[in-house]
Symmetry: C2
Subunit: 346 residues, 2 copies
């Protein structure tokens, strides 16, 4: 009989609450014969305060021994900025070589958007996850003095760029519109930019059916609000992808709906799925957190593990739930989770 | 009697057309006793094709000998990406130490915006102009091979950050709302981020009346579309400023209205004023280009040179012109320039 060994990192703030709903919907969606084994990891602000650990080697080793990871949210104002991000979140992405950071953006019917005219938005950002300015290759000298110099180095390799670009072509090729847009800033960041553009053009020759396009990142933000329907699949660097996917979330109903997968397509390490939003300590414990982004991340997880039908059922459930929200009274985190689980199993 | 020695770089594409209107309005706005001397520089794609020059030392020297520079737009698809940007536009910003890249964003009445609900937008981005990932400190090895590595280094100095942060506090302090937001990504780019944040906090102690705020760049893009009225003055790094100001332009009527100043506040070198938009070769020569961004850049230029009343007259003229556009038939570049000049002199 089949089984899924799932590592769960609820994390901080609303992380706990939304992950609980994600697991609820996951159980409802899975076929009877699939055994779900979960193991929860206490990682995040609390653990750091108690022990000083962000992600010890023992946890990292034990996490490896799973089919996938579900993460809620990491971060708390009581922890200095960067400690948990670099020491836990990014450490996981790097250690498990999550080079495809997959972030779909879809404006569901009836979902509020700040954009007038409700454009038809349905695109996927393939954000590189292991290189660029995120590598942590920087430093400072004469720190804290009037002569301080601080650097951040963006590292880009042909190996790293080609594999994510190829993944993006595959995804574009599998979609009806078959369109792929590269976003970079190759008129200023000429070295990294040329590497990206050359590989993008070369790999494109293997995908003659995919229409391609290039946009500078600044111009891309304009189209995100004036013409988002022009995008199908976007491939971009780690930092540009970070910025663009928050903007994409904002125009498609907000960060409460944005799902993401940190994927290692080779399967050498478990992939990790998490909502794009943060730990939102201001609303933690109030029942106001929307678990939909986590539930959609569970759909990405299922799809990655080969449960495509179950993933589709979750997406349909979310779409119907959102479509009916307009008229309904606000619900708690738990109520939304229950409603989604009911739709999925019904 | 007073005089202004103005260097003019029309540049490529629509640059020529919009600069002509900018000069028209400038002449209309200036008091009778101010003598305007202009000298035009042939720089851009044409010159590069003819001679291989982007910005020779002789031109750079001669440009220095002016009170200000008005630039139209630079760039053409026939020139490899980066050649004119790095060799001309950015070279000017670096050579003349334009560390304050000033970009106001205002949603004028009656101007179209992609945002539902027409929020009240009136903020200024103070973008650092001489550091960060724009310094051109990068390279590649094993170029073009499967083992290529390409880098881009973001350089940040206490000197460079403090002067632009101080300028931003001054501007915030002079505005009614007195609010300054730092935008960075200090949870990931920890070295540069901490330098920025520490200086931001320290300099802030000298401006007790200014309310301060910090946002990660990804979160800032969300607020640009969901709550842009929360911003008054924003200070940020060169690359984040590039991205945010295009998005700001998009939500306040489009890139056809966005003005900018590349300012050296010390006066050691001439400051340069330019529309945020590019050379738009697709509409060059058709009379479709909107010269308003250039005209508003002329207002920034006048204000920088101490002609505050004249700058205000131009802004009022633009506001009235935009307010009446809704009902009017589309006008040519020239017609808009004429209308603005008439309002300014009337
Ligand atoms: C929390 C932070 C490290 C992270 C990132 O920058 O990638 C977040 O913004 C995201 O997009 O997942
Ligand atoms: C053309 C390019 C070099 C420039 C920049 O990136 O600064 C432009 O986008 C701008 O914003 O003025």
């Amino acid at each position: 009989s089949r089984s899924i060994r799932l590592a769960v990192i609820p994390g901080d703030g609303i992380g706990q609450e939304v992950v609980a709903q994600g697991l609820k919907v996951l159980s409802a969606a899975l076929p009877q014969d699939v055994k779900l084994e979960t193991r929860s990891y206490d990682l995040g602000a609390q653990r750091w305060h108690a022990t000083g650990d962000t992600l010890p080697d023992a946890d990292l080793e034990s996490l490896k021994d799973h089919d996938a990871i579900l993460l809620g949210a990491i971060g708390d104002p009581s922890v200095p900025s960067g400690v948990l991000e670099r020491g836990l979140l990014l450490k996981l992405r790097f250690a498990f070589d999550h080079y495809v950071n997959l972030r779909p953006s879809k404006l569901f019917p009836n979902t509020p958007t700040p954009l007038a005219g409700r454009p038809d938005i349905d695109f996927v950002v393939v954000r590189e996850g292991t290189e660029g300015p995120y590598v942590g290759n920087g430093g400072s000298m004469r720190t804290g003095t009037p002569d301080e110099v601080a650097t951040e180095v963006s590292l880009n390799t042909a190996h790293g760029v080609e594999r994510v670009v190829r993944d993006a072509y595959e995804r574009a090729n599998a979609r009806p519109r078959k369109k792929l847009t590269l976003v970079h800033k190759n008129n200023v960041l000429v070295h990294a930019g040329h590497l990206w553009k050359n590989i993008f053009d070369r790999v494109g020759q293997e995908y003659p059916e995919v229409t391609t396009d290039y946009l500078h990142v600044d111009a891309a933000t304009i189209f995100f609000v004036t013409q988002p329907e022009r995008f199908d699949v976007i491939v971009t660097d780690n930092l540009f992808g970070d910025i663009l996917t928050d903007l994409a979330a904002a125009v498609t109903g907000g960060i409460g709906l944005a799902a993401s997968g940190n994927i290692n397509p080779s399967g050498a390490f478990p992939s990790m799925f998490e909502p794009v939003h943060g730990s939102a300590p201001d609303i933690a414990g109030t029942g106001k957190a929307d678990p939909t982004a986590t539930v959609l991340s569970v759909a990405l997880l299922l799809s990655h593990l080969g449960y495509g039908d179950e993933a589709a059922r979750i997406e349909t459930a979310v779409a119907s739930d959102l479509a009916e929200r307009g008229t309904a009274a606000p619900r708690t985190t738990d109520e939304i989770g229950d409603a989604l689980a009911a739709r999925v199993s019904g």
